[in-house]
Subunit: 330 residues, 2 copies
Amino acid sequence: MVTLEDVAKQAGVSLATASRVLNGSTRQVGAALRARVEQAADELGYRANIAAQTLARGASNVIGIVVHDLTDPYFAALADGAMRAAATEGLLVMVGTTHRDPEQEIAYVATLHAQRVRAVLLVGSRVADPAVTGRLRDELARYQAGGGRAACVGQDLLGVDTVAPANRQGAAELARALAGLGHTKFAVLAGPPHLVTAADRCAGFAGALGELGLPAPQVIHGPFDRDGGYAAAQQVGDATCVFAVNDVMAVGALAACRERGIRVPEDVSVAGFDDIVTLRDHVPALTTVRLPLKDMGARALVLALNEDDPVVVEQVAGEVVLRESVRRMT
Amino acid sequence: MVTLEDVAKQAGVSLATASRVLNGSTRQVGAALRARVEQAADELGYRANIAAQTLARGASNVIGIVVHDLTDPYFAALADGAMRAAATEGLLVMVGTTHRDPEQEIAYVATLHAQRVRAVLLVGSRVADPAVTGRLRDELARYQAGGGRAACVGQDLLGVDTVAPANRQGAAELARALAGLGHTKFAVLAGPPHLVTAADRCAGFAGALGELGLPAPQVIHGPFDRDGGYAAAQQVGDATCVFAVNDVMAVGALAACRERGIRVPEDVSVAGFDDIVTLRDHVPALTTVRLPLKDMGARALVLALNEDDPVVVEQVAGEVVLRESVRRMT
DNA sequence: GCAGACTTGGAAACCGCTTTCCGGGAGGTC
DNA sequence: GACCTCCCGGAAAGCGGTTTCCAAGTCTGC
């Protein structure tokens, strides 16, 4: 590969001068030399070695994003928001996918630390297991001790800056809205019991029903994805309204209903959570709680880069969106 | 940050020994020293500086993937396939999104070159503009001249290893299948004229119709995304069957039909291309041409890493999948 | 015309790690 | 017991940049 030294030699200048011309510096270089250097660099096809720059400067221009699954539109939207924000700051992005394995997540933080990335964004739900959360916290603390910055989208469990969707409130509002339509018998496709996001949404929903004096919903646990929703929907009893704790599960539930000849919303109403853009053309249109996912991703990046000391936790409110997958009870 | 020197000092050994213990080497280190070093590293919370390793070793363990848009499930699936393959090789992934700007794509290749990534994967359709393709080729050539490896998913336009979906054949087969159902009047939502993937699919489709002695389809150009399909669908004339050159556009077209009270498939049949997994629950289920996207992404990574000299171009066949969005004409 | 303030180019130290090259000690062979 | 290997630890030379520190001009202003 072409090095700066090659360029300097070809241009007949010192390494220092070549560096100042090509790779940004506070110091000026005369027009004549500057032109010579630029021409030499171009002729040789020079590209600065960023590993060397990172080493010399002691600071890298890449950030790391850790998500569970890129093919899940929820994570894709969040990651996209963060990446757009990163691009405006001139930062590059390393993306890691854990496929929901917490060990992978810890390993990724270690790797990104080793890369000396400027910041790490952890996107996605934490599991409630204190042992694994503790190890993740330790790994993050190590990274931060060395000057690394971190932020998280999800629950405030890691002691870092956090963009936290208001899952409980959102689910509670949704419950009130659905109750307002006259529903009284609910089921919740609740996802995995140890997943905090899922548990919060479920709890918020059930709590609001309790406050309204309505009977507790039937709670059905299962995986947090489309197939989990599909499977859980089979177990729904006599509820008139089913709340899936995320949109992807709701879509699975709708598919299950369709296959079994259960009409939505005539026979049963279905609601989700997140308002995934890709699903906007789904039939029937999904009632859900809208989260500004792209903004949240971008916001998390800003928080991570922010120098301020105190850990900040930003609550992001969701907005109930009623669509045709639910009906008014008469 | 903790450096290897700190560890070596704390363990009372030389830098060389510490390096050999912690960061893999062909050479053995005695058990006693090895233990001392490991303990010191653990106490201090040492993480190797990968920038320094990359510099010293002259080889990095990251690969770059350039896609147009991560929130498009087509790219997400491809990227996910490549990332899984990368993970099995112990490689890290940098993802760049161009948002369909060819200049961005060139800039990303330059940046990844500067990062000295082990390989670059270019995912997504090329534009037909020879000027911009030429500049991208130049940039890639520069990178490869320095020992970089590259591969591409899409058209074989860059002179690098390529995984090429058989767009023409797939579209032709689809056309034959639809004609076999009795359709004779077709429209094609053809995407942008300069996008090679779109053009190939359109040409393959039209060509097959011609061979069957059917009239040429109405061709409507527009953006390559959901909204493009939505808008183009408004201009369809008296066709009984509409082919959108990708699934996302087809979904937009279906939405347009729905809004205008046009029933699918009763009033008009609609087909897409790609078989996006996220859309499997769409109603009506979309007739399409299935592409093994994850495999293609993984395959591209393997090709890129492959040392062999001759440029290889792998055709990937699509498989026509007839679903309820098309009907048999009687 | 000259002191002093700015500019600008270059030499060299340094960033954190890998790896070659040396050297000393242990173990094996005859 | 001498000689040869083999094994393993350490010193030091890079890897490709950045940046500090000097020194030599170049401009000012009076």
